[in-house]
């Protein structure tokens, strides 16, 4: 129960951050990506706020043996920069530029009830499912930051 509440709080903070920063607006994001146009650098300020706050979490984590409600920190697997990483990032970037949505804002915006948002999220889930199907479900230890590296409760 504590784990569920902790995750709920994290998701709520994340969603509130997307609302307050206006990153929930795909046109705002495209305004950042449109460097040659009427450039809106706001997203850079989101990153400038988010990264130092996340650094505090990483630093505090180094000072504790394990997370409050889990047995171990789930570290992303150490791997070199490889073609798979860069190809995936490039494909993601292309989709991001086409719609103005990355996964977080697209999900957070589902409450707007707009068909375009629902269609994007449905396609995104299909893309994820397609990847799983193509990789035969063997992607668990191939560089998924959220995959468990040890069995836990």
């Amino acid at each position: 129960m504590r784990r569920i509440l902790a995750a709920l709080v994290a998701g709520a903070l994340f969603g509130l951050g997307l609302v307050i920063s206006h990153m929930i607006d795909p046109l705002k994001v495209l305004g950042f990506l449109d460097i040659a146009g009427d450039w809106d650098p706001s997203l850079a300020f989101v990153m400038a706020g988010a990264i130092p706050a996340a650094v505090i979490g990483v630093a505090l984590g180094h000072r504790t043996r394990h997370p409050l409600f889990a047995r171990a920190f789930v570290q992303p697997p150490r791997q070199p920069v490889n073609a798979r990483l860069l190809t995936g990032a490039a494909l993601f970037g292309a989709g991001w530029g086409l719609a103005g949505y990355c996964p977080g804002p697209a999900l957070a915006a589902l409450g707007n009830g707009a068909p375009g948002t629902v269609i994007f999220v449905a396609a995104m889930l299909s893309g994820m499912a397609g990847f799983r199907w193509l990789s035969g479900g063997r992607s668990v230890h191939l560089g998924d930051p959220a995959s468990p590296v040890s069995s836990r409760p």
Binding site: R3, I4, A6, A7, G11, L13, F14, L16, G17, I20, D25, L27, G31, D34, I35, A36, P41, S42, V46, A48, I51, A53, A54, V55, I56, V58, G61, P67, F69, R71, V74, P76, L86, T87, G88, A89, A90, L91, G93, A94, G95, G97, A99, G100, Y101, C102, P103, L107, A108, F120, A122, A123, M124, G127, G130, F131, R132, S139, P145, S147
Partner: protein
Amino acid sequence: MTHFTPISAAIGGILIGLSAAWLWLTLGRVAGISGILGGITRAEAGWRLAFLAGLIGTPLLFALVGGTVAWRAPAASWPILIAAGLLVGFGTRLGSGCTSGHGVCGMARLSPRSIAATLTFMLTAALVVFAIRHGLGH
């Protein structure tokens, strides 16, 4: 098209970073949305669903209590949105992360992979926007 809003952007960013710090310190998990979503059918659905409930529910709650949520619908046509969604879903799984996992959490850990991924998706996204808004036909 949109106005530069550095203060609200930074405050919102801090909340996103605090979310990542909190998830790391409580559950030992990286707050990468594509990873949380993509792993949902694989392992530990409980906390993942709770995170997503918070993520989706908070903007809704914010709007219900009278707050202004700038959640405009995407401007692209449906076929483009379908293509974009497929690319984002497939690409984030292939590349092991998105704007949050690589761009915030990975950058905070100074991960070379996340720095390379973030530079790559920022660049390709900017190139696609350039091609659409200023490329051929304009």
